[in-house]
Symmetry: C4
Subunit: 218 residues, 4 copies
């Protein structure tokens, strides 16, 4: 009882430090990805023989996973940025759900390292896909919690836009969960999906030019 | 004398950068936890034999410690966030006490790595428990220092709430110190306590809904 | 269609969190550089023999690359800081281009590690030079996109200054791409260029004293 | 000429992002220190024999260097925080000098790792001492540059306080340079100085209570 009384004060907190912690976790995770590309160790003989170029070329699966994972974390960060531009307060539940979301993000370097080492192994593909699906699912849950009865979001947000958010956020975890399942049948198709999904969020549409002049939200 | 004259100027500092450094240390520490889960190295033969799945399953103690530690750092960050929403100024003593608090946080990845490698060893459990107890104790000391005669906290805070804070913050270090002692008798009970304590801070209560509409503190 | 409708909202976002993520990636990348200087492992016998000093001296190529790379990332950060003091809004395209820019920055620790291990190898020099050239090119593309028709930059910026920016930003990637090509002929000249380029951005000119009193931009 | 014209614009920049980058480098460096304390690898036999406790105890030199270095970086951060509460603008020279300062900070994890592995070796003690002395020297140079003719600092700061700052900041690099020299004669004395210096900045004086009520500077 007393316990709840103090901690429930978090209900009145802003989202400034929650965003700072999140930016930290996104920033460190995205930068740690490069540690999975290990500099090859060559003998002097191999070096003279032009072995460095060949050794670097053989790192291509790791480089590919690096680029894909960098975009995934970058786009998840963009989603977090957009979502929290609508969320204006935090409470304990939101903080805990956000911790789970960050846990999935900080797990991506491990999943990427695993997939870089075993690029077309079903198990590695499934771990990678399910990690991303779990992350996407946490976005959905954060949004469901924050937007219910305008609990923590801006009052001005229309319920139509809220519903639209629920629907669109769900697409990503479904795609990644599907890709993970497909890995049991065709690993190459799974890898192709991993490569294509980020592109959906990158390519701009005609509306982007229109909104460029909209009111700025910090 | 002269020496004190310049440095004591820190007494008039705000808490903005103290929070930024703290968010950095919390964010990096929580993200480094994943480095303790090392990608298994398999031969081609083991790989063909479906060894990757088995190797990953055998990492479960590390995964468990990862999840527990992620929640511990996350909840310690939440406590820091809540506590510093009441603290509005910093001085040299507060900065030094906060450095000790951050030291305990940044030590958690080591303690977690140790416990992940030796999951039910008494020594590893005690190091982990005492690290968390030390962190919790630093929270208590920071609060005792900052709140004494409203030294650095908001004038509007009632002495009843201050006292309540002192009491509640003390629960965590006592639980973890107790868990560390119990490890000498029953390692499994200690691990169970490590798993349960974070849940106390996660599950919301009925008051949370009430305060959701309270005034926002950035 | 619906999809674009929600995500295009990012058009109205500020640049606060984009800068926070960028500062995180720059800060972590610049700090990870030191991990490439590995502490030498000596036997007791080698130690008694004064071998530690010799072992440290033999690390000079790594120390040199460390210093150069630290300045490169530092100066790229300075460029980012200056550029975004003119950019006042973000949209999805800018975020994606900035992710590519950050990808090049976070790749520098790998390229630096590679070059530190194989200091005068043509392949390593080319990877390093092309990584920096790619980073510089992304600065140019970000600027071209943001400044076109004053899309995302301050209205008050003169088109003369915009054009000047386009020109000057282009110098860096051209220098680094040139240095990478030269590595096929003369590795030592390439290394010399790597050492000299950062100095161009360090040495102040007479105008610096004049502008010191200009209006502050946060 | 044209070149200077654009870049000299940095003269009008605030210090917000400079502080953000610095907090990032300080935060990552201080958190990376723990990586130098490596979890001991034991066989099952050694483990049964109570070898884990002994192995951990034998890590005491690393733990000691960890605690000392954590305080050094923490106190350097405190100094940076205090110094930049007086500096209100940045220009290219300040940014470059600050990069050199951050370079010394980010080098501390290497020097600490070296000293933790070879705790009483003259060479390791000298590298550690000179790294800290270089850091302290950069603080002095940053202050000399920023405060000259009130170039970048608050106009309200008295020239007496500026002079006082110059004097006091110089103490730290002199102490560390002295400690490095002493290592050639008596390594234990050097280590003792490393342990004592941070304490000078930790212990509060009577004035601290007086200034606690001063105007808050964010």
């Amino acid at each position: 009882m007393l316990f709840r009384r103090l901690y429930s004060k978090s209900g009145g907190l802003g989202t400034h430090r929650l965003e700072a912690l999140s930016d930290g976790v996104f920033g460190v995770s995205i930068t740690l990805l490069v540690l999975a590309i290990v500099v090859p160790q060559l003998t002097s003989l191999e070096l003279v023989d032009g072995g460095l170029g060949r050794a670097l070329v053989s790192l291509w699966p790791r480089a590919l996973i690096y680029v894909i994972s960098f975009f995934v974390i970058g786009i998840y960060w963009m989603g977090h940025n957009i979502m929290f531009s609508y969320i204006e307060r935090s409470d304990r539940v939101l903080i805990v759900l956000n911790i789970l979301l960050l846990m999935s993000v900080s797990f991506i370097p491990f999943a990427a390292d695993l997939l870089g080492r075993y690029p077309f192994e079903t198990t590695a593909l499934m771990v990678y896909g399910l990690t991303l699906a779990f992350g996407g699912l946490m976005f959905e849950i954060v949004w469901l919690y924050a937007s219910k009865h305008h609990r923590l979001i801006r009052k001005s947000m229309s319920s139509e836009l809220i519903r639209l958010g629920k629907l669109l956020i769900l697409i990503t975890p479904l795609l990644y969960a599907g890709a993970a399942l497909i890995a049991m049948v065709n690993p190459y198709l799974t890898m192709a999906i991993f490569g294509i999904v980020p592109l959906l969020y990158i390519i701009p549409g005609p509306i982007d030019d229109l909104v460029a002049g909209a009111e700025v939200v910090q």
